[in-house]
Structure formats: structure tokens, C-alpha cells
Amino acid sequence: MPQNEHIELHRKRHGYRLDHHEKKRKKESREVHERAHKAHKMIGLKAKLYHKQRHAEKIQMKKTIKMHEQRKSKQKDDDKTPEGAVPAYLLDREGQSRAKVLSNMIKQKRKEKAGKWEVPLPKVRAQGETEVLKVVRTGKRQKKAWKRMVTKVCFVGDGFTRKPPKYERFIRPMGLRFKKAHVTHPELKATFCLPILGVKKNPSSPLYTTLGVITKGTVIEVNVSELGLVTQGGKVIWGKYAQVTNNPENDGCINAVLLV
């Protein structure tokens, strides 16, 4: 083995022999025959070791060739029909495994005890007073600052009459009062425009609930008699809860999801 770069140096300076590449090519192709010849002629322990090594090499070669072949011809695997055949009436329904049903029942019992309920938006950003209520200055010198105006969308009932303007502490502007909400049924994926019956709970503060302020995450009660839902006893359901999913003061409409 050359220990230095003198071969390369010579090649750089003087180039190759004229028949170098030809000779190289022919020598390489002869190598296969010579190898075979050696494998035939070898005897003894040397032969045993050589054959063992050669066998391992051949197995490896065969594997790589097969892999390449598979890559070239693509098989259609999706001819096989999927498992889990169900009749037509079960196709659009997700089956629940029995174990899951039991664990769900237990979880529901625990929640009932704890008083927590599942709503589509469990956490919403709490709105501070400075955001929701704007200070309105009154008085001869505009010094008094006890009046507040609501800056978010609100709902007032049907029979709402303002208190005498001199005494009302919270002003709810008519432009921000809404009566209807666009409610989506989560399973049917259909949206209906339903009249609001009342504000059940505003997550930011109980004050907002009494005022009727509707922000994102508020639970409102809507009139669902249009949908035609019925209880087991045959009575028509006409009110259901829905949770607001958008910021109504930015959009100009109230979008909510029905809580089934």
C-alpha cells in the first residue's frame, strides 16, 4: 500500500499510460472469473472460511436485489376490503365499545357530584370592567362619574323599560341590543336563527349576567320550538341552552352552539 501521495503526484505530472483505462476495465471484468476459479480450487480450512464469508455476502446481495425489484413494481394493496363490516344502519354512527360506555357513565356521575358541566368552550378570557363598561361623566361640571355604558352586545327582555334617565346607573344602548342568535346544532351541522329567551350565565361576572351582557362563552337560552324536538312524554321542547362562540361586538351577530 503506498504510504504517501507519490502515485497521485506522478499521475498529475505525467498523466496515465495510454492503455491504462482499457487495462483497468478488462482486469475488473476478469476479476469475476478469477474469483470463481479461486473458490473452486481452494481446499482446507482456508476454503471453509472463504465459503462461509462468500455465502453471507451472496445472501445480502440477493436481499438488496429483491428490494430494488419491489420498489420498481408497485403492488395494489388496497384491493383488500377493510375489516369491520357493519350494516347500512350503523354506517354513519360511531360505535362505542362497551368498556368505554361504562367508564363514561362513571365519569358523568362524578361530574354531577362535582357540579361541573361540559360546554364547548370551557375556558374564555375573563373581561374586566374597564373593557365592558365605559364611564359616562355627568353633572354641571362633568365631574360626576357614577354612570356606566355597556360597550358589549346585550339582551334585554321583551317587557324592558328604562329606568328614569336621571337614576339609571347602567346604560345599554339600543344599537347593541340583539334578539336573535344564529344557533348551530352540533350533530346535524345545520344553523338556525332562533330568538333568545334570556342570558343564563356570563362566565366573567354575575353582574354581567344580571345586565344581560353577551360575550364569547356566555350561555344563553334560545327558543327551539322551530326545530320540533319532543320529550319522551310527548311534550314539545321549546327552550334549550346554547353557548356563544364569537365576539358579537366585533361581528354584529351572535353565533352560538346548541348544548345537547
Binding site: T81, E83, G84, A85, V86, P87, A88, Y89, L91, D92, E187, L188, L227, G228, L229, V230, T231, Q232, G233, G234
Partner: protein, 477 residues
Amino acid sequence: MSAADVERILIQFQDEAGEALGSPFDVPLDITPDKLQLVCNALLQKEEPVPLLFFVRDAEVVQSLGACVRTLELETEQVVPVVYQPQAVFRVRAVARCTSSLQGHTEAVISVAFSPTGKYLASGSGDTTVRFWDLSTETPHHTARGHTHWVLSIAWSPDGKKLASGCKNSQIFLWDPVTGQQLGKTLTGHTKWITWLCWEPLHLNPECRSLVSSSKDGTIRIWDVVLGRCEKILTGHTQSVTCVKWGGDGLLYTSSQDRSVKVWRAKDGALCRTLVGHAHWVNTLALSTDYVLRTGAFEPASATINPQDLSGSLEEIKQKALERYNKVRGSNPETLVSGSDDFTLFLWNPAEEKKPVARMTGHQALINEVLFSPDTRLLASASFDKSIKIWNGITGKYLASLRGHVSSVYQVAWSSDSHLLVSGSSDSTLKVWDVKTGKLVMDLPGHADEVFAVDWSPDGQRVASGGKDKCLRIWRR
């Protein structure tokens, strides 16, 4: 008044439609139903006496007329109207044992159907084959291969000579039960899976040429099976069509997941009416004349031990089918019941009105299947709340609840005399119920997993059931 003096009462026999039979009759107050039957049969002047049930104002006369009148507190001075109901001449016995468990399918058995005469049995499965079974030896007869996905629905033509099967790849194949070969061309055209198949009734066309199919893509197609092409496409539903039925008057009824039921004219494909009222998906439809349209010209009363094919020329068959249809239908138009995911059923008179006749509430989970009894007087609804409810088929009044299953009830099937009901459930058992008493007659365990499909043969001898455990079981007396 001595004890020998028996009180007498004037009664007027009336049939179910309210027409009077003969003139008012003077009978003793303690007359029993058998004697009433003799009298009524004499008045009806039929060749053979027909078994009858008697009702005074919807209360059945069980022991004697007197007991009934006393409980209802009717005035004995006036003429009491007594309604007579002819029962089936034959009586089907409850099935009690599993005679064979037929293996062969390599995936769950999804649909099972007996041919209209009860001679052949076909089953469709998730392994994409439809298998025909020989009923006399209870062994496999033919395996019909051709589908490329699960065979979701199968339907026999009313003359029993063809079977149509629809698969999840939206193709429909037609098979010959005798040879097991495909007849005609594959019917393609739908874009999503086939949910239901229904043939044109025999009395409208004895050649059994037209087939209607409904699919998840929201369209309904009417096919000509001889030419192998689609004749009409009915669009209108906005979501998957779950069920389609071809009525005996040439009207098509379809139910869909868009909460509506639509009525179409089969001749030109025009939409007649949209019946709205449900609050969630409408899963299933049942027509009062379903059973008679399914059996066509075959009369269950004339069944023999070895079921035979229908004989006679096309005209004769058509005539027989028409007679049977008119007899069952009577003078009222067909009524339709729809069962939905909103836990209620609606009873409609689709040929005439848009408004429902009755709304039947009471179930606590979605309703999977609704079926009229063969004599159209009763209605059974199977629900995922583990119960089956029986309703009056004419007024929609609630009659009874059949409880016993421990898990959702998937399918039900009536026996041809309307006395017995068999139900298959996801708890892997079948139960046979007597609807008159509302009690369980027979519990049939044996399946290893959920039972997906149940059918009672029209000659009343056998019940076939198939399920997730890949085997088809045949039950006999």
C-alpha cells in the same frame, strides 16, 4: 226475575271500516266469543269458517259479551256495535331451536332475506359475497362473487326469480338464485354507497323489471334491470337517503337524513309531497302494505312443507297479487310510518295530506327499524333503548312495550299470521314475542356476537339470522 231469565242485548256486527253486517241481532248477554263467531260466520256466508276476534269500542271480548259491556258500562237498552276482525286462517308456531349454524362467510353477515315463497335464502356479507343457501338440507348452495366491497342491502324480486344486491362501492348486481350467476349488467351510477333497494310491486308489473335504489349521495335511481340502465334519477334530498319504498299505488316514498320524507310519482319521477316534522335523521320507513308487496302472489295460507316456486302465467300471477293487495289494503289509502333519531315515530297518510296523522313518542333512544304487521293492524318499532314498542297500526296509539333485551335492538321480523315477532339485538340473542299478550315466548341465544339481520320466512317455518360472528343461523320449531 228468576235466575233462568237471561238478559238479552241487541248487537250490530260491524267490520273494521264501520260498515254494518246484517241487521241488529238479539243475543243473550252471556254469549261467548265462540258462539259470536258462529253467528258472524253464518252472516258472512263464507265457504269455510274464518277465525274472528270481536271488539266492543276497542275492548276485546274475551270471556263473554256481558263482562265487556259491564266494564264499559254501556247501556243495554241501545244497540251495541260489535266490530269483528278476521284473523289469519293459519297459525304460525314459534321457533324454538337452532337447526343449523351455517358457516361460509369470512366476514360479518350484514343482510339476510328469504325469497317471497320461502324457497330460497340469500345473505350478503362484509366479505363482498352473496351466498345462496339450500333450505331443505341447510347447506350452502351458491356463492355469488362480483362485488368489490361490503354487500349492504339485498332485495328479492316479488316473483322470487331475481335477487338484487347493493354494495358499499355503489354498485348493484343481479343474481339468479337457481344458478348463482349474475344476470344482466352491473348497475353503476351512484357515487356513494347504496342504502336500500326496492322492487316494483308485482301487481303493477309482473315481469319485475324495475328496481329503485337509494344512496348516501342523496339521489334515488330507478333502474330497468333487463336493459341494465338507469331510467330516472330523483334528486331533492340534501343528505343521505336512508330508505326507499315502492308503494302499491305507484308512489315512491323516501326518507333521508335531512329530516324529511318525500313522496314521488314513480311514472314520471315528479315530487308530490314533502313530509316534514322530524327533528333529526329519519332512519326507516314502513308501509302498511309492505308484507303483501313483498310476498306478491304467494299466499302464506297455502304454504306447503316444501316451498314451491310461483306457478302460472304472468297474467295469473298479476291477478293474484292484485287481489291480495286489494284485500289487505281495503278501502283506505296506504299509510306510512317513519322512525327517526329524534326518538319518535310519525304516522302519515302520504297520498292525501302533508300533516302527520299521529306522533308516537315514548322511546328513549333512536329508532332503528319500524315494521307493520302483515295484517296492517299493528306496528312494531325497534330501538336502541333495548325495547320494542307495539302500536296500533291504524290510529298510532301505544299498546305495549316488549322488554327483555339487554342492549340495542337492531331488527325485527313478523310472522305471516301477525301473532309473533322475532327481534335480533346487539346483545347476540334473538327473542320471539307474542304480541297479543306482550310476553316473551322464546329466548334464542346462540350467536357469538351482535345479530345484524333477522328474517322470518313467509311460509312461517323458519327464521334466519346473521351477525358479526360470521355465521348464519336457521331456527325452526
